[in-house]
Amino acid sequence: MTVKPTSYTKQTTLNQRLLRISRLTLGSILTIAAIVLIISSFSLNLFSLVNSNQTKAEAFTENIAASLVFNDANSAQELLDSLASSNDISVAIIFNDKAERFAYYQYQHSVTKELLIPPSKDYTIGLTHIKINQPIYFQQKIHGNFYFAVDLSSLYWQTAWLMIVILVTSLLALLASNLMLQRLNTAVLIPLSKLSQLIQKVSEKNDYTIRAESSHITEIDTLATGFNLMLEQIGERDKNLATQRDQLEIEVAARTTELLAAKDAAEKASHAKSEFLATMSHEIRTPLNGVLGMNELLLNSELNAQQKIWTESVQTSGQHLLSVINDILDFSKIESGHMQLESVDFDLVDLIEDAMAMFAQQAKHKELEMATQFTPPNKPFHLRGDPFRLRQIVINLVSNAIKFTQQGEVIIRTTLQSETDKKANIHLLIEDTGIGIAPEAYKTIFEHFAQADAKTTRKFGGTGLGLTISKHLIELMGGKIRVESTLGKGTKFYIDLQLVKAKRPFVSEPTPDVFDGIRVLVVDDNQTNREIVLHQLENWNMSVFCAPNGEEALYLMNQSVEENKPFQIVILDMHMPGMDGLELARTIQSNPKLTNTRLMMLTSTFVNTEQHIIQESGMIRFVNKPIRQKDLLKVISDLLSISTSSDTPKIKAKITTPKMTGTVLVAEDNIVNQQVARAMLAKLGLQMVLANNGQEAISLVKTNNNFELILMDCQMPIIDGYEATIAIRQLATKQGGKYLPIVALTANAMSDDRQKCLDVGMDDFLSKPFTLAQLEAMLKRWINHPNKNDKNQESQK
C-alpha cells in the first residue's frame, strides 16, 4: 500500500508554514542577488582596475619614452621608483627595443619568476595579479615596452568586504522581514486560530450556540459566516432530533408499559396455569389416595370371591386413573415448558434392571420372556442426567411392549456406542414380539392422544400420551427416538442418547480368577436369554455351552462326563416346554455321575415353589428373572465357593414383614386420608398420633418426644408442612434428643416440590396416592435405620 508521503510529514501551523515560505523566498532572492552583485562587482572592479592601469601605463610610457630615447636609465629608474606610492604594483620593468631590461622596480623583496615574464598580449588576468604590457612609442615608433604586475589582494579584500556587507544586510533584511511577516501573520492567523479553537470547542462541548466573530479579511470572514451558518443548521437539526427523540421516548415508554403489562398478564396466566395444575394434581390425588388406600385395606380384609373381584377392579381402575392423571400432568408441563431435567449421577445398568424388575410379575402373568442385555457386559454405566425421567421413558416403552405383546419376549438391549473422556453415546433398543405398528402410523404414534388406531385405545387402554411424553423427554435430553415395526411380528424402539459421564469410571468389577475356564451349560428354550447369558459368562472367561431343552442338556452333560470334562455349573430355566427346569434338575440329581455339578435355577419371583420340591430338586440357587448382571456374578461366585456336599439350599424365603413398633405422627388434614394412614400403620404394627395441621404437629412434637417418624402432608391449613418442618427442625436444634425423620406426603407430582421438601429439612418424599407396600418400604428405610444415629449426631452439631 502506498500512502502519499505528504500526509505523514510533520504537521505545522499555518504561521510556521508562511514564515518558512517567506524565509525561503527572501533567502533565495538575497542569495541570488548577493552572488550576482559580488560577481559583477568583482568583475567590474577587475576590469576597471585593468583599464585604469592601462591608462596609467599609457601616461607613464610617454615619460619613459624620453628617458629611453635619451638613454637615460637613471631618470627611468626614478620614474619607476615613483610607483612605490601605489603599493598594489608588485613589479614594473622597462624593456628597450631589443627586449633588454632598461629599468626595474619591485615592491616586495622577493617575487616569483613567473611574475617577471611580461605577457604576450596587452594584459592578462591571473589569480593573484593582473599583468599589463604597454609598448613605448616615440614618433610613432616602438622604442620598448613598459611591463608591470598589479597585485589583486586589494580587489579580493574589497570583494570580501562587500560580501560581509551583503551578508549583514541580508541578515538584517531577513530579520526585518521576519518581524514584519510575523506581524502580518498575526493579523491573518489570529482570526484563523480563533476560528479553529471555536471549532474545537464546538466539537468538544457540542454547544451549537457559539458564533464566530467577523473578520476584516474577506476570506476569513467568509469562513466565519459559513461556519456560523453551519452551526445554526446543526443546532436546528439537533433541536428537531431532540424533539423527535423525546416523542420517540414517550412512545417507547408507552409501548414498554403496554408490553410489560402484557408480559405480566402472560406470566400471571402461565403462573395461574401452573398453579391450576398443582392444585388439580393435589385435589385429584387427595381423594384418590383415600379411594385407593381404603380399597387396598378392603382387599386385605375378609371378602367373598365376588367381592374380591369387584374390589380388585376398583383397584385397577384407580391405578389407571392415577397413571392418566400423571400423564396429563407431565404432558402439560412439557407443553408449557415447565419440564426441568435433573442432573445427578446414576448407573444406567441398575436403572434398566430395576425398571425391568417392575414388570417381572406382569410378564410372568402373560408368560412373556424378559431380558436385558448390556454391551459391553458386566460393567456399570455411570452417567449423569435425570434418572427419574429416564426410568419413566424405559418403563413407558416396556409397559407398552408388554401391553401389546401376547406371546414371545420383551428385551432391552443397551449398547455403549462410543465414549469420550466426558461423554458417552448410549443406544437403547426396546424390542417386542407384539402386534406391531403399521409403517404409516410410525409418525402419528408419537403425536398427542394417538395410538396405532382408535380401536387399540379401546382394546388396550391408556391415554396415548406415554410415547409423546417419552419423545419429548428424550428430545429434552438431546436424544432421538424412532420406531421400526412389522405388523404381527413385533416392534423395535431405538433411542440414541448422548449423556455426560459421571465422575465414577466405567470400570467393571474385577472378575474372580476362579471363573477362568469354568465349564457352564445354559439350558433355556428362549434363544435371546441363552445368548444374553452366554455373552455375560464368556465375558468372565468361562467356557459356555448352550442347550435349548432338557434332553439336549442331558446329552451334553453325559458326553462331557465321558470326555472327563464335566460341567461345573448348569444354569436352568424353570419354565420350559416339555421337560421343565425342575424335572431336568431332578434328572440330573438322580444321575450319580452328574451330582457334582452345581445347579442354578432362573425363575420368576412370584413362583412359590413348594419347599419340598426345591429340596428334592437339589437346587443350590434360585435366581429371579429377569436376571441382573450383579446377581449372576454373585450367585456364580457363591456356587463356586461352596462345596456340594455341605449343601443347604438357600431358598429365598417368602417375604414376611417383621412387625415395626413405635408411634408415628401423621400430620394430615383430609379425614379420609387420615383413616387410610391410620389403617395402614395399624396393619404395619405402628401406633399413630394425628395432627390436623402443621400447628398441631409442632405442639405435639414439643410435648411428646417419642415419635419414631412424622408423615407430613405438605398442603395443610393454618401452618403447612414446609413451615411446620422448619419449626420442628429449629426445635430439635434447641432441645436436642433423638433425630426425628420427617417424610413428606404430597399430592403434587412436581419434582420441584420434592426439592422443596428436602430443602426445608424433610428426609424423604412419598407421593400420594401410595400403596401399603410403598409406605412400608418408606417406613422401613427410616425407622431403625442404621444411619439414623449418624444423622442425629450431625443435627446436634
Binding site: A66, F138, K141
Partner: protein, 162 residues
Amino acid sequence: MSLLLNTTYAKADALPEFRLKAAFIYNFIAYTEWPNGIGSDINLCVYGENSFGHEISALDGRNVNDHLIKIQNKNHIEDLLDCQVIFIADSVIENLPSILGSLDTRPILTIADSKNAANEGVALNMGIAKNKIIFEANLKAARRAGLTLSARLLRLATKVYQ
C-alpha cells in the same frame, strides 16, 4: 631608424660622437613646440664647420611631429633667418652674441656643443660627461624665441637656465 636607436644606446666611445649628437638633435626637435605658422618644413641649419659629415644628412627628409626635416649648411649669419633649428658649431661659437642678436626673438631653436654656451644664450647645449652625451637647457632663451621645450626634455637636462 636603426641608426637612431643605436645612437640612443651606444656609448660615445664606441660610436662616433657626432652620430649620437645628430640623434640628440632629432630628439630635441621632437620635444620642442614651435608657434603656429612655421610651415610644413623644419629647416635644420648647420652653421659653421659641419663636423657631422653624413651623420647629419641622415636626418634629412625625416618626419618629426608632422614636419619634414631639411638639412641646410649655412655660412653667413644673414642666411640663418630661414632656419627653424640652428646648430651653432664650435668653430663659430665666438660669434655667438652677434648670431643670437640677429636672431632676436625669432622662433628658432638654437643648439650648440660648446662649453658654457647655454649660459650664454643657446637654448640647448650638448656636452660629454662620463662618456655620455649630456645637455643643458636655457629655458629663458627658448621662451624669448617663443618656443616651448617639453617638460620631459627639461627633466633630462643636466642644468636648466631660467
